[in-house]
Symmetry: D5
Subunit: 116 residues, 10 copies
């Protein structure tokens, strides 16, 4: 998975002089539990203030799909998504919220934030 961030495409922020917020919800996230190999399901929400670049949505869809057959823990994947998106788009600030469906009667939400 060394090259997934270069798959994230960006485009020039059309209004870089203004602070504004872009929120994107990806309710079709799935990955694998690294211990059992069983699939996990959830919603990834990304909220950011673009600086010079905005994230291109089609490439974001493909980036999210790379987790489909990857084994990774909730806490690690949420932080990794933030790191990858920050590296690719260099936003003024960004928050990633990952909300997972119940396992064993328990459901989890991990929230990670970045500020320039």
């Amino acid at each position: 998975m060394s090259n997934e961030t270069n798959k994230l495409e960006i485009f020039d922020n059309p209004y870089p002089d203004r602070d504004y917020e872009i929120r994107t919800d990806c309710p079709e996230f799935t990955s694998l539990c690294p211990v059992t190999g069983q699939p996990d399901y959830g919603t990834i929400t990304i909220i950011y203030t673009p600086d010079n670049s905005c994230i291109e949505l089609k490439s974001l869809k493909f980036y999210i799909q790379q987790y489909r057959n990857m084994g990774i823990f909730y806490e690690a994947l949420t932080n990794k998504i933030l790191d990858d998106l920050v590296q690719a788009s260099q936003p003024r600030q960004m928050k990633v919220i990952a909300s997972f469906t119940p396992r064993g009667g328990i459901n989890s939400i991990v929230t990670v934030e970045y500020k320039k």
Copy 2:
């Protein structure tokens, strides 16, 4: 599209001495994707504090309809609506929130704000 903002009509704020908020939801917004030509759908929410002028709702409806067959990206159109409405009505402050229906399992909300 050089002349759409002059289509936005305004009327005198009946209570200019008081700061108050007007929120307008336009759930029937549609435009075109500039890449594929496919239609996009969403809700435009406008929240503002009028100064000397209020936005006339019928002209706002016609203004919003101008995007029906225009190709424009989410980020650009949200900022452009804010700019056009600010120019027409010169509010004390204004926020525009554009929430789009899902494409490829992903939905987006863009929020832009202006303060005098």
Copy 3:
């Protein structure tokens, strides 16, 4: 409509030494559009901190009904309701929120606030 505020009745605040909040929702508001004569519908919400007087609810119901066949714009009526209620009850603070049903696919909410 010169005498409607004197129809608003008040009673002594039973606990004037304490700042507390009274919220009243009137979901059966209707008035007329001053341009077309067509009926408008909405919900009027009143939130206030009483000082020496509380607003009597039956008189509030009759006051609200006075708009039934009156032609008046959204912005004007919300501000006027605030002014009338403030004049009648002299509250420490008051907010009036008027939320109207859609016209031409657009719905509006006007929020007006008073502080002593």
Copy 4:
């Protein structure tokens, strides 16, 4: 609009020996009012039992988009969609439900049914 039904594509029903139901919801329908030219919005729901052919969804999407700038009444368009889909796919039975957003405080649902 003489050639839109030939744009509807079909594919072979993979299980023609069994009666089963396919329901498709298209919540992004829009057309124009033939009197005022103003846009109408609604959801088109198609429920059918395929015979030898199923309707291909991408071509259905393009078929539905043909109404975007067409002036047509609610009752006519719902019946026309049924006729076009029946002609293209020759189903055992089909129902089309068109539900429109409010105009003048009134909303409408038209339901049309076909049985072979």
Copy 5:
């Protein structure tokens, strides 16, 4: 109120050879209680199978508005609306459902049906 049914306008059913259903919801109904003079509020739902005529929606809106300042009981008005609409449009069948907001903690729904 002798002439309100002649205000209901009809137009030719574009598909008279087919039995199909038209449902119209009017959530902005209001009339007066004939005893107290106080306003009543509710939703009028009309479901019918047109024969040769469909009910024109703008005239229906004006017809419904005629009750705004009329004193009439729930049971009478629901039956009267059915009678007026049947007389005007001569449908194959029609149902009128009138659902009223609570009075004294009690709310009511009256359902009346006609079959040719």
Copy 6:
């Protein structure tokens, strides 16, 4: 409680030639548990086809209030309400549904029906 049914008032059915349905919801019902004396709460729904008489709603409200301080079991009170309403209004058919809030983590709904 010998005289409560004579408190139920009726008025002439304005459309006795037509079978139609009147549904009334009373969400503010309360009575007492005959064993513990503790209050019970629930919603009483009455659905009936009037014959010559309709039930007057204000008297129904007072009738329902008679249970406020009466000790009576769920099954008995639902059947008794049906009996009292049938005796007073002689409907073509009537259904009474009593839905009670949870006690000990259990909630109950009793449904009783009468046909002439």
Copy 7:
């Protein structure tokens, strides 16, 4: 668990001459998985027409609690509850619906019915 049905108490149906329905929802059901020993959770809904006897709700609560530490499969427990309640109360008819919370992303509802 040989004696739990004798813990179910009944009382005389106050209106045995009439067919009517009693519905009871027990949203606080829990038992154990017989394979893993892990707790299961769900809602037990009982709908029945009493004959000579009604089920006393406090004893039903205790009956339901007997499953708290019992290992039993979904299908077996739903059928067993029906059998026990039928044996105790001899109803004219009875339905038991058991709806369980998700395990492994899958949730189940078992519905069992008895007719005299």
Copy 8:
């Protein structure tokens, strides 16, 4: 009603060294209108930070039931409940929210707060 507060029972706060919040919702509140004698219904919500004492819930239930046949205005009863609960339990802070069902199409919420 001189002795109802002594009916409120308290128990020792098991964790007095920590500021924490207890919220209790009583959705089955009922009292009488002091003018008309008609019943009022609502939900009483109590949110407090205990100091040395917590409010015992069974005694709270009985305390709330004392209002069942008492004539008292909304504003007075909300303030009185706060005073009684503060006197009985001496909390660090407490808020009482009383939300009443609609009367004459109007519903009210009264919010009262205490800080030590």
Copy 9:
């Protein structure tokens, strides 16, 4: 995919003398579009009357997961799931409902039924 049905495990129906219904919802279904390779998402609902065998839920979970990386159309997969489950468990009757998330603003539900 020749051997997936032998992965479906069954167990003896504990109450084979009684017709009863088992409903299982699998909201975490995912497969691939055979044309684009893009993932599809949906909920598979299975409703059946067992004969001699019930479907073991853990093996159902693994069976459903086999579609995760399989390219297959909506209509084919719904029919195939029905065929596989019928072959494995030989039920008295079975219905499979597959509801998919929107693609291109269109969502689909396929319903297939089997009767012995």
Copy 10:
């Protein structure tokens, strides 16, 4: 119950340099009332900022299950869960919210917070 906290397992926070939030909802909590022995039901929500350790979810499930047959008051159990989780995972901050189902028509929510 001296050894339950050692059953809580932790793992190394994969991103200890960043403050982020983990929220876990356990909607299947049950314990016993210490006075009556009757079961209580609720949802335990845990929100924390991990320092060096994260709480392992399977061990959390088993920890929560230890309360299944333990008699303990709402206030005590919420504080005890916070204490046990803080001792096991040493978070930067943590909040525990315990929301219980109604008893006697009253439901409660206890919220406890810890800051390092």
